[in-house]
Subunit: 139 residues, 3 copies
């Protein structure tokens, strides 16, 4: 059993979903990971990680739009407003999704369905550089 | 340390929660898994996995009902409508819950509370066959 | 590779977020865990676990307040009412967040961002004693 740690930076330009499936597949290939657990963490609480449909970009639009309506950017609703109208909604949206994904790797491939992709879900409006960490345990 | 991979198919008949705790306990028993991590993935983005109360069926009804109201099946709300009125809501409900569960196995038993069960949460209306994967790492 | 199991009890006094980051760091330190996966489970379905901002207490207030409004404690909305007006909403809030957290440990430290903390999210109104389990696999 071995363990591999790495990190990746993802640049975001406003709220929405950013596909990092290929980056992750590359991490698995270049390290010749055969079988094991791949744990991915995002080190922020105003962006999150989800597995979502990778076929129709409208799905990603609708998903972001749903969350925008569910968690309004309205300072009157929150006490924590010092960091901007998008900050508290971003924390809530993160709580409603995930701070990490725990994936299985089998035969040098991530276990994903045909229509599944890995996404960083950015909840803030301004440009950001987000850090995610990879941690593999297996062989 | 060993790793065991397997898969399971679960038939669903409309939206709601489908208990697969016993199937999972059977997987642990038959493979004589003692201690380790059991990662379970669903290979779809219109159904999801959750841990939920296993005592009163009304809880499962109320839970599904809450999600139905929270994420309406109304095509006017979404751009992605080609796959039916229930498809985009299904993707959103999946994002609000989980695509995988990472469980601990100790002394040949899954670490669960007395009232906790494992459920596949089906979000689509028509009959489906859903594929989940088991991946154990431990001894 | 070794595995370590432990459990912890957290007392809660009403709905809200309870920081257990220090307890978890202590678990990692005292067991001299170097690199590995730390899986944390809560054995209840009316409280949950999340990673959230640890800087401004207003964030925790707003987060709890958002969930209270999203999932009203109104018995007319639910069939499962026998355990009190806060019970069914608690199950729903648990489904919207997490029953477990899967963290990476590297160089004897939990992989967390500067502003990330580990929280037990209590959804019930009365005092509770909640049980969480630690399971480490690594070296």
């Amino acid at each position: 059993m071995k363990q591999i740690f790495d990190e990746e930076f993802i640049n975001t330009k406003g709220s929405g979903l950013y596909d990092f499936t290929d980056k992750t597949k590359h991490f698995v290939k270049k390290n010749k990971l055969i079988n094991g657990i791949l744990n991915i963490n995002i080190l922020h609480t105003s962006a999150s990680l989800i597995v979502q449909e990778n076929a129709d970009p409208d799905v990603l639009y609708d998903l972001n739009n749903f969350f925008k309506k569910l968690v309004p950017m309205n300072n009157n609703l929150y006490k924590h407003t010092a960091e901007g109208k998008d900050d508290m909604p971003a924390h809530i949206k993160s709580a409603l999704t995930n701070s990490h994904l725990t994936l299985s790797v089998k035969d040098n491939k991530i276990t994903l369905g045909t229509w599944q992709g890995l996404y960083l879900f950015e909840h803030r409006l301004e440009d950001q550089t987000r850090k995610i960490t990879y941690h593999f345990i297996g062989n």
